[in-house]
């Protein structure tokens, strides 16, 4: 630190540096300690009479997932406080809202959990479970709240495929909040102008291109919006690359190998390339910092012909009542079709139509001061009454079969999703490395939009996947 000095002076410097060194050592020890979390006693503070709990979710009043945010303030918090009061416990429950892109929310939660703080009950996407669990940020429910969680009566109502969304290595880490499915939405008014049928159901990618070409004739309209680019994050993968990829007959992870620079990936990128080259997509949606929100607003304003999205789009975005981009004429003007495979029978399992599903859940913070009460809150939020209160008049594929049988009939789209989409859908692998593969895939689509060739983008993607997967032998290429 201080070379070439007289011995006397350097001794003095050393003495003066002593406190600095002490701070460094102390800080270093504290920092090392943060990674090692030991399992604490699940029954700590179980008898507390004054309890405060916080719930965090990527929902905010007047914005993203507004109905969920509203549900906390008008149902979950007052009812849970009331129920606890009857037991003689004074509970204060707070909702910690967010209204940002999922990746930003994920980073915020990871940093919260890393610093051993954060909310007691945390909503997370199912694909983050692996990496959060491996980092020790979340722990199996039974470790956090004790073996009592296994006797919860709700488990029997939740199908295994849905439970997997909140599990890691077959252990439940949280209670799933439901699942979803992806379809193609289209604007019937624009379809009428373009001379396309009102009950449109494409049977190949070519049909989408053909419809797009017709829609291009209607002025001021973006014919097709299939997410691409890095700005949209996972939305690009889930509402773009992966539904197309399963349409070529491959899943992103199959036979213990990731899709690298394969013919399937090149087919997907080639389809994007065709959409771009034929002027059927709006680059600004794909590349802009808020492109996804802009594409939603444009669809709600009747300026997008075809858009690939999950049922979230129908429930929370263009929902005329509580959507973030409400579309008054949704029920009359918006049609939906199943996503076709590349060509008939080319999809996974030889399917003609394909989809992708995911879903999140609620997890307990292992560092909660009140594990028992946090679990009680989580179980309360996952009770049939609470879920029905959140849905109100709307419908959603919830985690619970007992609720689904009552609500799915209310909404024709959700009826179709549960009846026709869920039986043939595919899920993302619950592996910790998946989000990095997903980012490489997003970058490949961004490269296509920015004008690179399919081969170039696929090659870059292939080597990126080899790097994150840890070797070429874990990656398929052809």
């Amino acid at each position: 630190m201080a070379p070439a000095q007289s011995p006397r002076r350097s001794a003095r410097v050393r003495r003066r540096l002593a406190p600095v060194v002490a701070v460094l050592v102390a800080g270093g020890l504290a920092a090392c300690d943060s990674a090692s979390s030991s399992s604490a006693d699940p029954s700590r503070n179980a008898d507390a009479k004054e309890v405060s709990l916080t719930v965090a979710s990527n929902a905010i009043a007047g914005g993203k997932n507004a109905a969920e945010a509203e549900w906390y303030s008008s149902y979950v918090i007052p009812r849970f406080v009331e129920a606890q009061k009857a037991k003689g416990v004074t509970v204060t429950v707070k909702f910690q809202p967010s209204g940002v892109d999922d990746e930003q929310y994920k980073a915020k939660m990871a940093l919260d959990l890393k610093s051993r703080s954060g909310a007691d009950v945390i909503a997370l996407d199912g694909i983050w479970v692996g990496e959060f669990a491996e980092a020790g940020y979340i722990r199996p429910l039974a470790d956090v709240a004790g073996s009592g969680v296994t006797s919860w009566d709700g488990w029997s109502q939740i199908p295994k495929a849905v439970q997997a969304n909140a599990s890691y290595q077959d252990k439940p880490y949280g209670v799933p909040a439901g699942t979803d499915g992806r379809v193609l939405y289209f604007n019937k008014k624009l379809f009428a102008k373009a001379g396309l049928p009102q009950d449109w159901q494409p049977s190949s990618w070519q049909d989408i291109l053909d419809a797009g070409a017709r829609l291009k004739g209607v002025s001021g309209v973006t014919p097709v919006q299939i997410n691409a680019g890095t700005a949209m994050g996972e939305a690009t993968t889930m509402q773009g690359a992966l539904p197309l990829l399963v349409g070529t007959g491959a899943e992103i992870y199959q036979d213990e190998k990731w899709q690298g620079n394969t013919q399937n990936v090149r087919d997907v990128l080639g389809f994007y390339k065709e959409l771009v080259d034929k002027g059927l997509m709006d680059k600004n949606f794909q590349l802009g910092a808020k492109g996804r929100d802009e594409s939603f607003a444009a669809f709600a304003a009747g300026k997008v012909g075809i858009l690939l999205e999950g049922d979230y789009f129908w429930r929370s975005v263009i929902n005329p009542d509580q959507g973030s981009a409400p579309m008054k004429s949704r029920d009359a003007d918006v049609g939906y079709a199943l996503i076709p495979a590349k060509s008939k029978g080319a999809g996974i399992r030889g399917q003609d139509v394909v989809s992708m599903s995911g879903g999140g859940g609620y997890f307990l913070n292992p560092n909660t001061k009140y594990p028992q009460q946090a679990w009680e809150l989580l179980a309360f939020m996952s009770s049939p009454d609470a879920i029905k209160a959140m849905l109100g008049d709307t419908a959603k594929v919830t985690a619970r079969q007992d609720v689904n049988t009552q609500v799915l009939g209310k909404d024709p789209l959700l009826g179709m999703i549960s009846g026709k989409v869920l039986p043939l859908t595919a899920y993302r692998p619950g592996l910790a490395v998946y989000p990095q593969v997903s980012q490489a895939l997003q970058q490949a689509t961004a490269d296509i939009i920015s004008g690179k060739s399919v081969d170039e983008a696929a090659k870059t993607y292939g080597s990126a996947v080899e790097k994150v997967a840890g070797g070429a032998e874990k990656v398929a290429s052809s």
Partner: protein, 296 residues
């Protein structure tokens, strides 16, 4: 440091009390500056990640992150973008604009001067988030103010001219500092010398070169040093473009954020941070050298 012991203890505190006085300062610097810097140095040689197994149990990978960075086209592109951003918006944009405003305000009526300076200052003191919102509205594709003025509806400025947009933005944002500094510097130029030069038949450029510039040279260097460092480390372009489209405005601070927080590569991000720190030091040393040459 050959001073006599008594002379070095000018305050007459004695060693113990002197140490007591500086200890809090050392502690603060240690806790908030030295320790984080060393910690970054350590993280930079690990494969530490925000999530996953490498978050719980990071492994030392030596100089892997640094060799990766040098070989990473994304990092090199980011470095070039950062230099372009600093050169365009700080060295050229803010310095030239600041000087032009400062010098032209010397010969205008006071009310005009007050109004202009207030407006320029306002751009500087408004919170970043507010400014970002204004600029997103200004440059917006659908009905943005700029497109309305130029009657070019539908131009997505932030996507079609991303670097130019953030360079103009940062020039607008930061000119106030240069303007203030140059105003003060210019008021120190003796009017008599300017008058003499004018009588001797010197043109505007010659008066600037031979009379004004020698007086303000030190200020120009100080100003350039400060705004280069600030701009080099500036994160606010992120609020406009989020580094996009397709990384076209990903300057180093944004690049680090994207890789370390968004992508979770904390180890790699730390290595890049350290490289940035070194670049900052080099810039600072370069200017300090220039300043010294001037002094001697």
């Amino acid at each position: 440091m050959t001073a006599v012991r008594g002379a070095s203890d000018a305050a007459g505190l004695g060693r113990t009390r002197a140490v007591a006085f500086i200890t809090p300062g050392f502690l603060l610097i240690g806790a908030f500056l030295v320790f984080p810097a060393l910690w970054t140095l350590y993280l930079g040689v690990t494969d530490y990640r925000l999530t996953g197994i490498a978050a719980a149990d990071p492994q030392v990978v030596g100089l892997q992150n640094y060799t990766d960075a040098v070989a990473d086209p994304a990092f090199r592109r980011s470095l070039v973008l950062t230099l372009a951003f600093v050169f365009g918006s700080a060295i050229v944009g803010q310095t030239v604009m600041g000087f032009l405003i400062a010098s032209s305000m010397r010969s205008v009526p006071t009310p005009v001067k007050v109004v202009v300076e207030t407006l320029v200052l306002l751009a500087w003191i408004l919170p970043s988030s507010v400014v970002a919102f204004l600029w997103v509205a200004f440059l917006n594709r659908g009905g943005g103010t700029l497109s309305a003025i130029l009657q070019s509806p539908g131009t997505a400025w932030l996507l079609e001219y991303p670097m130019a947009s953030i360079i103009v933005f940062n020039t607008w944002r930061g000119t106030a500092f240069s303007m203030l500094l140059f105003s003060a510097a210019l008021s120190a130029v003796p009017p008599s010398q300017l008058e003499t030069a004018r009588l001797a038949g010197a043109g505007a450029w010659e008066r600037f070169r031979d009379v004004v510039f020698p007086h303000i040279r030190g200020h120009v260097l100080t100003n350039t040093l400060l705004i280069s460092l600030w701009t080099f480390n500036d994160f606010s372009p992120y609020l406009l473009t989020a580094g996009g489209p397709n990384h076209a405005t990903e300057t180093l601070p944004v690049f680090i954020y994207q890789r370390a927080i968004y992508g979770g590569e904390l180890g790699y991000g730390s290595a890049i941070s350290l490289i940035m720190l070194v670049i900052n030091l080099v810039i600072a040393l370069f200017y300090i050298r220039l300043l010294r040459e001037r002094a001697s």
